[in-house]
Symmetry: C2
Subunit: 258 residues, 2 copies
Amino acid sequence: MPTMDINVYSVFLDRLADAAAKETLPHFRTELDIADKPGKDRFDPVTIADKNAERAIRALIEAHYPDHGILGEEYGEKPGTGDLRWVIDPIDGTQAFVAGLTSWATLIALGDEDGPFMGIADQPYLQERYSGRPEGAFLGNTPIRTRACRKLENAILSTTGPDWFTDQELIKFERVRKQARFTRYGYDCYAYCLLASGHLDLVIEAGLESYDIQALIPIIRGAGGVISTWDGGDPSDGGRIVAAATPALHEAAMALLT
Amino acid sequence: MPTMDINVYSVFLDRLADAAAKETLPHFRTELDIADKPGKDRFDPVTIADKNAERAIRALIEAHYPDHGILGEEYGEKPGTGDLRWVIDPIDGTQAFVAGLTSWATLIALGDEDGPFMGIADQPYLQERYSGRPEGAFLGNTPIRTRACRKLENAILSTTGPDWFTDQELIKFERVRKQARFTRYGYDCYAYCLLASGHLDLVIEAGLESYDIQALIPIIRGAGGVISTWDGGDPSDGGRIVAAATPALHEAAMALLT
């Protein structure tokens, strides 16, 4: 991907995030109609804010890049005619959104057959916009880096909640938790942003969808972190994910997760 | 307590919170020296921000109300000569603070022999200041109310993390969790603020100290909520705490916790 194209897409990603924020923020901390999406064990809410934000994002992409593919949480897959595909979660952390908590974000990735190479995680209530591209990761316009944490005993660990693991997964997670410095629960996609910006050191989750993680991959990698599935595979399809501040910490966590 | 005194103390509480914010915010999301406090099972960090914030609060109280008692997390108890006592947690949620998360707050309560009658929970990074006094609860200057949630099946439940419960406590918590609409982890004192402002419905915790909870009691009650120990007792000394949006929801939760 030529640098000029990256710059153009970077500006466009900001525009997509702005459009989504216009649909999400007015509904945050207001009374919402909340529907439970079928087919999952846990309560999986969707609101008018999720739907309208994804529609706004898709409309802009379709107007400017009609040949690109689109995958979105709420409106599914639209195949493209070329290599490029946008992957959208209009509100990652809808549970947090409806509970008035600030750990939700709008996630948008742009990728090709090798996976996502650019991504944005926008938290408009906090006015924090995290982005990743091949040459780095940024909070707003400021470059961000992961922390130089190499040992589990020094690591601040995060996961959304123990209920998101199967029993077998929880046993493995607990092995890591017992060695980590301390563990914080509940931060959804925002935990990955804080990992990229050098506050947390390790995020371990399971049961993720591709749209939950794709935008975060270029952010983690651009900031110097490592992200993969628990067995070291490509994280682009979601599933069980481990993200770490350094390669050494990633290795140490993987050794307990596999 | 005459209304005029309440108004005077209310202005003074704002001043205390302003003084604390000057000591906490400059250290938030910076590299910090973190000490682990002895005597607890879990990692219990303390930073220069905790210490300086409590010192700033204590200095103002001692200058203006030298006869009042003070209890603070970092510097302990100073007995007063009258009925009134300030209870301070300069940074509730220090783990969150050092991890760059926004669920910490400065908690300050003012009480007498009947317990706290005024309290403030200040989150300066989010610029959200929650306060409670006999006639109501406020976010900034705006009155707040709990939501009219009466049934567990409709309730959004929150707790800081499962590791904070003993095994026996966790069994009881799980009874409630399985009936609640959904559960969010990780929000420390901020969960009580969101309960008071009508976003969450139920907070259940254990192992709290008096300085963790006293400031939140007037906020919850001023907003129309109910707060007690798990067996319905006075929550002022901390321990196992249940806070609910309505009396009916509080009863329903207590029935599963005792």
